[in-house]
Symmetry: D2
Subunit: 305 residues, 4 copies
Amino acid sequence: MSEIREIHQEGPHSFTMGPYGEPLARVKSGETVAIYTEDAFGGVIDSESTSPSEVLGDYLNPQTGPIYVEGAEPGDTLAVKIEAIEFTRDWAVSATIPYFGGLTSTNLTAMLQDPLPERVWKYRVEDGFARRGNWEIPVAPFVGTIGTSPQIEALSALAPGDHGGNMDVPDTSPGNTVYLPVRVDGAYFFTGDCHVAQGHGELCGVALEITAKVTLTFEVIKGRRIAWPRIESDTHIMCVGSARPMEDAARIAYSELVGWMASDYGYEKMDAYQLLTQAGELYVGNMVDTTYSLVARCDKRYLEG
Amino acid sequence: MSEIREIHQEGPHSFTMGPYGEPLARVKSGETVAIYTEDAFGGVIDSESTSPSEVLGDYLNPQTGPIYVEGAEPGDTLAVKIEAIEFTRDWAVSATIPYFGGLTSTNLTAMLQDPLPERVWKYRVEDGFARRGNWEIPVAPFVGTIGTSPQIEALSALAPGDHGGNMDVPDTSPGNTVYLPVRVDGAYFFTGDCHVAQGHGELCGVALEITAKVTLTFEVIKGRRIAWPRIESDTHIMCVGSARPMEDAARIAYSELVGWMASDYGYEKMDAYQLLTQAGELYVGNMVDTTYSLVARCDKRYLEG
Amino acid sequence: MSEIREIHQEGPHSFTMGPYGEPLARVKSGETVAIYTEDAFGGVIDSESTSPSEVLGDYLNPQTGPIYVEGAEPGDTLAVKIEAIEFTRDWAVSATIPYFGGLTSTNLTAMLQDPLPERVWKYRVEDGFARRGNWEIPVAPFVGTIGTSPQIEALSALAPGDHGGNMDVPDTSPGNTVYLPVRVDGAYFFTGDCHVAQGHGELCGVALEITAKVTLTFEVIKGRRIAWPRIESDTHIMCVGSARPMEDAARIAYSELVGWMASDYGYEKMDAYQLLTQAGELYVGNMVDTTYSLVARCDKRYLEG
Amino acid sequence: MSEIREIHQEGPHSFTMGPYGEPLARVKSGETVAIYTEDAFGGVIDSESTSPSEVLGDYLNPQTGPIYVEGAEPGDTLAVKIEAIEFTRDWAVSATIPYFGGLTSTNLTAMLQDPLPERVWKYRVEDGFARRGNWEIPVAPFVGTIGTSPQIEALSALAPGDHGGNMDVPDTSPGNTVYLPVRVDGAYFFTGDCHVAQGHGELCGVALEITAKVTLTFEVIKGRRIAWPRIESDTHIMCVGSARPMEDAARIAYSELVGWMASDYGYEKMDAYQLLTQAGELYVGNMVDTTYSLVARCDKRYLEG
């Protein structure tokens, strides 16, 4: 195996996913690269005595990219195999930020109440755990944000959508392949926001944030058009829907999965609907971002001839 | 062990949960009984050639009850340990019903489109599986509907809510204990709607419906007031929220769980919020009933001293 | 004109709408009666120094009823012409109640924040205005709650739904006719909760609450089945949808209106959809109750030959 | 009065609102200009025999812009007085488009049902009416889309948001002033999508679309920061919230209005909340776009002395 090329962000990170920036790097279909990522705060929250609202700037969630994938054209699919996620520091951080999170009013769910208190929780990452006091959270790393450029929009790196983005779904993890729509020449791939681990929903809005080196293999699937991101593991196929209200995210995720079972696995549409009724899995990735992300899953045992 | 008393519905089943009917039976705190339950269709869909809309009557989801629990008073909690669920026939049935389900417009999400086709799927239940054609769904039984009476309302047996009801969450299963609020003298307990298995969300609206004998142990916890149903397994504590939109069900489930961790396990509220951010679990029970039911879970490893 | 019969609540008011109580009175189709109603708090908030959470009991929104309408059978429609609303006292009251209202978290939209402060606002009602300090709100009376019994459910008097109930829509006002579904013999009609006036959405959850004498004429329309409440004025036909999320209430209201235009006014369904796109009206009655109520309206000028 | 400068789009229209394009024109604070706008379809639907899905391209809703407003800097507000809207043709068009609209499943509210039929409705615009068959819709012109650039995002011209955009609210009409946040140097103003008239909600998703000449006066209000668009008429102040679910749009609109009454009109926050409960107005602009737009209004009579 040849040495893997490393990609560091040169110059400022991207705070949007869009077609308007210059590519940071170019990769070939089939190539494996290692991409260095910042944490969601750009590293400025590094102590429990920090006040997030004082140190955070206008932009959050810095992304490494755009990466130009040669040969990718609108109408193709970009398959991104997550080979490995290696942390590049030994601590992770979470925080509550005023009017942001799942159990507080926000700028979108606006109310007249006072905010919850600001707090920072810092964890040591060691021996396969994130540790703080007597808490031990098993390490289960994934990339919180991964996506391609929309056709003409430049979307905030905080936004999940049909381009991927800040989905915060734990299945974008080592060993799995993420399928993303290609909507511009070169796909313009972005990633960042690695998490040591995260519960379903990312309840307070901030997971165990960390910097990382993410090793990915890119593959362009020509002439294959998908509408929403998909994930494949050894055992499951999965579709991600991102929308509000949350039931719309669920509807997208499951109806995309019905479509995948129909197009690729010989299911009649109503039979796929039935099978998923009895055996489908559905969990909440995030209930805190600009849209909520839900993952619908089908065990591959139901996809065999 | 003495013989377990069996409770069969005498006369018609209940199609509401409320305080207005005569108790079918009286049980003591600490008593174990076996309750026979109908399927959600009252058994009228028994063939794949049946047209659901022709055979279904005005009421669905017949419940066995009300069962009067001696000593239960408003402000108490009723703990119901699910000892066993034994099927009383060897087939299960699912169906699509016009304008009902998760990927169709409904009477509440009203649109002008034509309905999806009606279909019935009948499964053999044998050897630990529900089988149809080459599908094999592992048996994972639970009671779809379980609840107590509201204080003065009589709610449809199709409705989940803060009284429990038609929650359709797979964790109301053998080995687990369901905690329900007591809002009237005697609690007025109802159950029914057993499922051989069900995917998350109960996507088409109808799980693997079956008749069953459900063995339960009742315990009255005096002076303990809860606002929403709770579940406890060997490994997890869980809260169920039922509401629309779906994010409101998620908010209820997680905020009740924060409250439980604070009241019983010494957590400061913001710390519980943080811990659940990193380690909480959240899944969709149903996305098809009058309100959606979501389950938030916390592993008991985080609750020890 | 003969003297109008007066109906006072004998015994306690109803806090549910359902078929389980004894009728308070019987009226004939075509009969006009005057019904006395309590305010939504049963009169216990009568001063700005009152603390609502200390004086309010378990139940809110007392209704006068049930009134048995002779000849009404399931499948009919009950037309209720609102002849007049006369206040029976000279003051109205509004209040903020902890975790209740449109710009606060609630039991259904649960968050961890502290509640907003409790406050009471008392108004003099005189000269066609509700006055407090330099505020002068023009009197525009309507019944906040009006409905019939569901088939087998008994629903909280705080709940709007397909039976009517606590819709809080300003078009249930003198001169207009409310059409309600009949789901039990005698219809079992309830009303209460008169408002001196109210803004769209009933923002803090409590309008200008007052006691009143409401004069109504009942008419049974045999064999006419409606799914949701309707209202007719001299100038408009209207449908009320009550659901969460709010877009579902909007969808119900407009799709019922499309159906009405198709069944009674010769519109092809897609043409009704088109006409309402350009000329329909839609406002928010309440954004605070157990479900939100929206009113879709069509000017009668579009219904003529 | 000097002659008003006319601004025609040179080169292609904008299909996003963002900071990445070159300004089409520069205007001074205080200047009045006339801007020519395309219809939402770029004019390609001009006959009732057109099939929208065959003629529509990838992008919809062409905007004229960006227009650079001299002196406008982030943190300022741009006041845009709508002086006049003059139609530049004598016909308007509406249509149903597959899986787009208020009473159909869509890409965001995904279901398995077949789409509604495609149809085109073409109207003559004459004598103050849009006429088709026996329908006569009174002309009530407004700009459907009006906004400034987000800070770093480029958002689809179909999207309403806190930058304005495709709000489709009938109060962006002649005589009214729209206040927009300035988030980039020069504000980067866009407008288009004029409507001859539109009902509340823009039910099928397409109003009476027309080309127009829009006369606007720009004023930069230095150092005044607003979070969401505002509108002022002779009689009302208004705030526009755009979000999903619809109740979130309502919460934004009303809480922004509370804030405006507090900051500029001496209202204590809880008193503004109370006053709007009794006298606030709230209507649905659109229930069809990527987010729903609602308008909360307060009569100026409540803002005096």
